[in-house]
């Protein structure tokens, strides 16, 4: 049984391993975050607001507002009442049609003095 052991000799790899062990590789990231932290916070808040709006809209669309309608009163039926007519309406009509104008018929003008003597034309 041989116990195999790998030994890293590449200096770049060794350096990378040391950076990982010591946490040196996080230093530039922390520096970048520290530099742009307010931008990151603002962006985060914006994203949260957009998500909240999207969720709110989805909830609003799912629940339809109630429609308030007046109660059904049914179709209105015209109230037709048969009028009683007299058998003597025609007499009233005759009186209404009676003209009180005089002369009726109008008397036309006639020349009663037709001759060839006078100049009454």
């Amino acid at each position: 049984m041989s116990n195999l052991k790998f030994e890293i000799t590449n200096p770049e790899a060794v350096k990378l391993l040391n950076d990982i062990k010591t946490g040196a590789y996080l230093v530039p990231i922390k520096a970048w975050i520290t530099r742009f932290k307010w931008f990151l916070v603002s962006g985060l808040v914006l994203v949260v607001l957009l998500i909240a709006l999207a969720v709110g809209k989805a909830i609003f669309q799912r629940s339809k507002p109630p429609v308030f309608l007046p109660p059904d009163l049914g179709t209105p039926v015209p109230t037709t009442r048969k009028t009683v007519k007299s058998d003597y309406e025609w007499i009233r009509q005759n009186i209404q049609n009676f003209s009180t104008d005089l002369p009726d018929p109008v008397i036309p003008p006639f020349d009663n003095a037709i001759d060839l003597e006078s100049d009454n034309i």
């Binding site: 009683v84 058998d87 003597y88 007499i91 005759n94 009180t100 104008d101 005089l102 037709i114």
Partner: protein, 260 residues
Amino acid sequence: MKCHLFFPIAIILLVIASITSPFVLADAKSDYDYQYGQYRTGYSEFVILKRDYLNTSSLDNQQKAMLSAKQTILARDLAKASLNWYLMDRIASYNIDYNPIKPVITSLDTARQYFLAQAKKSQSIITQEDLNKFTQSNLATISENDSIVKFGIVANKVAALVRIQTDSSIALDAIILKLPTPIPSGLAARIQELKDSSKIIDGKIDLLANNLNLADAVAESVNEIFFTSRVEKLVEIRELQLDWIDRLIDIDINYVQPQI
């Protein structure tokens, strides 16, 4: 052969008769319209020919004017006769028997006969002297005959009112028979009111008819208020009749007609 021809000819004659009968059986109104139309046409021609004659007294112009005068006189007197016949026809159409206007009807017929006689007489005019004599004679008698037509016009209105009164009276009698018995006292009072009102209207019509004074026809007919004074009476009677029939119809609707 004759039998074969008879039926087609009879059918053709019947068809022709059915087409032409409305024209042949002209009524009094269309006869009057026709005669008056003839007079208007004739008179306008006569006026022109007379003016020609007065401007140029030639024998030819005199003859033309004389012929036209004869035709115009004939048309005039026939138109007057037709007007009287038209009024008589209208009065008769009311189918009433009312004594106060009977003298007017008789006078209308007498005047009509006079106009027809004058129309016939006018055809014997030959010379200008004949024409002068005819016209002078005509002017002496025409006023009385002309005045009758005004009385006829009023009598025609009176006849219409009497017809309405007769119809109303018949209607009241018919309604009384249909009323529930015993008649309630309120309704009986209304019926009595109608009877009383009817008598009042009858009295007003009688007064209007009896005021047609034929004895002084000429003087009365030329009175300016001959028609206007009577129009007021007609309006009054008509209003009373309307009120009367309204009350009768109210009783008919409420007590006689089946209620729905």
